[in-house]
């Protein structure tokens, strides 16, 4: 196969993998501190994307901002909206249902996701249709032989990888990260040691949901189009990545994200007759992997989960 085309596939796979990993890390964080799955996570991605879309559109209508400033406005909107929706759902829904059966929490958060999704559809004018996302990043193309890639895509990829690294640093190097890890290990002992449980949990929800909002912005910038129901599939993929990689760990979901993107890309390359089967293959592999490794590829230490 043409090396340029192969490089193109590789780049796309990396980009998808980064976005999946960012979403999957959120699932893993929530599961770590509270042992729950917050399934509205995918729709928080859509909320982030639409907030950035709305904020960029509004400011552009009022004042003509230079590129980087418009991007900053979109970024702040995506992060803020993500954090707010994450904290509200965590406070109102997930914390009170802490001791309910797992399936109830799953269903409740799925429905919260539905509320977010429908809210976007109803609140945005003509919200049922896909929206063109403004190009907030500089144009230009980097080319090497038959391989060419937009500068914006490179910025998105580098930014995404930096965010993954930054999350890792937050978890391992800061006080909040220490509290998160303590609560994840044993919430009662952590509280005895003076960790504020509710604050830590809500902090985790804010952190994870900010990541989701950012993923929404990245998707919008990359595909130049956003849709009110973009979160369903992404949420399920992110959850699948987190489960396959190992819920509760940080490296696991990142690994899972790149694995899932790799399978999808591979399916596109190997099954050239129709790339439409890529989701079928990816989900079949996920089901098989869960059947084979019920605790995830990187199992949580001392776990009795499955």
């Amino acid at each position: 196969m043409d090396p340029g085309l192969l490089a193109q596939y590789l780049f796309n796979g990396l980009m998808l993998g980064t976005i999946y990993a960012i979403v999957a890390v959120g699932f893993s964080l929530f599961f770590g501190v509270l042992d729950v799955i917050k399934f509205s996570h995918g729709d928080v991605v859509a909320v982030g994307a639409f907030s950035a879309f709305g904020a960029a559109g509004l400011t552009a209508a009022l004042v003509a901002l230079p590129g980087p400033l418009a991007l900053a406005v979109g970024l702040v909107a995506a992060l803020g909206a993500g954090a707010v929706s994450g904290v509200v759902i965590g406070r109102v829904l997930v914390l009170p249902l802490k001791n309910a059966p797992a399936v109830n929490v799953l269903l409740a958060t799925l429905m919260a996701g539905t509320v977010l999704r429908e809210a976007i559809r109803l609140a945005v004018p003509n919200g049922g249709n896909p929206k063109p996302f403004p190009a907030l990043l500089p144009d230009g193309v980097l080319a090497a032989g038959s391989f060419s890639v937009g500068i914006d895509s490179v910025i998105i990829l580098v930014g995404g990888l930096a965010v993954v690294l930054a999350t890792h640093l937050v978890i391992t190097r800061t006080r909040l990260g220490l509290a998160i890890r303590a609560v994840a290990q044993d919430d009662e002992v952590a509280q005895l040691a003076g960790v504020n449980f509710t604050k830590t949990v809500l902090g985790t929800f804010a952190l994870g949901s900010m990541l989701a909002g950012l993923a929404g912005l990245m998707l919008g910038l990359y595909y130049r189009e956003i849709n009110f129901n973009m979160g369903i599939l992404l949420g399920i993929i992110g959850f699948a990545c987190a489960v396959v990689g190992g819920l509760g760990s940080l490296i696991g979901p990142i690994l899972g994200g790149f694995l899932f993107a790799g399978i999808q890309t591979l399916a596109t390359v190997v099954l050239p007759f129709t790339s439409a089967y890529k989701d079928v293959v990816a989900f079949a592999v996920i089901i098989a992997l869960i059947g084979l490794f019920p605790t995830g590829l990187i199992a949580e230490k001392s776990s009795e989960r499955v």
Partner: protein
Amino acid sequence: METAQLTGTRPAEVVRTQGLHRLLVAAIVALLFAGGGFLLHSEAQGEVIALLAAFVAIFVFAERLSAGRRAIALCRAHPGTVNLAAAVSVLAIAAVLREEHYTLLMMATVALFATAAAGLTLQMAFAGVPNFAGAGFFAIGAYVPAVLGGTGIPHLVVLLIAGCAAALLGLAILLPVLRTRGHYAALVTIAFGLLLRSFLEVNDVLGGPQGMKVPAFSLFGLSFARITEIGPYDVSFYLPYALAGCALFALAFFVVRRLETSFVGLAFDAVRSDEVAASVFGLSIARWKATAFLIGNAMIGVAGALYGMMNGFVNPNSANFGDSLIMLSILVLGGFGNLWGAVVASVVILVIPEKLQAIQEYRLVIFALLVIAILRFRPSGLMPRATRDLSALAMGGQR
């Protein structure tokens, strides 16, 4: 209190009170069904709202007042009378509304979704096996008559094959479902549902995104699509479907209730509530979970097949995740494990948005908020499942 009075009276009077109680139960059921039929048929917004208000009032009355609670207890004590009265009421409603296409279509839809909910009840409420791909198995059922409908195989057999097909395809994810629990098992079924849908969409053999035509159901050579009159009466061609749907639900109801009251139901409950304890008592976790999963999927498949034949077509969109969530909402809203609750919830979720045009646009938000509120404040649903009462057995085996 009731029993203390009864033991003090003479046999003849006991018989008379019993008969009176039965009559009362039958009257309550008939009244509720009459209200339901009226709701199905009514078009005027004011009427619909008034009926809904009346139902809410009845519900609050039955919950809060002692007379209401006694009425519920009375109905629980005479399940046979309730079922008989329900069957007669359904036949009466069908007879009265025999020419109304739309009302009968709604009735059949409610019956078939309630049948699917019965299958899910078996899986989730009894054995504790999550199934977030209900719409997927429903659609598998509908694709079977689309493929086999024209081949001359009797359609009753096609329905059976549809059930078997759904169960068999469920077999593909049985192993991962059994090896996992909670979220993980749920993810397996969600992934299966998405896989199925994208497969149906890209696969040209099964019609691709357009889907396939499904022939009308025919019973012993009599096609339901051609029924326009029975004897001297003109009837809608949806009438046979409504009756067949209700018959199917009755069958599912019978099977589920029988399983629930037998040792199988006890085993399901034990496996769901504590796997370790159940296995200590010699119950095979995998066996009972697999049993529930396969029988449940078969039920959903049969209901889906009849639904497909009624609609005349099936497409990949019928396997979408949102519809699976709607089926689960029916289960949660009605009350996990209570089949009458599932019927009521099916009416609420499928019929009310059709009736109240004002909420059409907002129905998904409203249901989502409703389900969240129920899970948050009343996790056992509108009509909670009755607690298993074995005290009668302990006191000498008399009911």
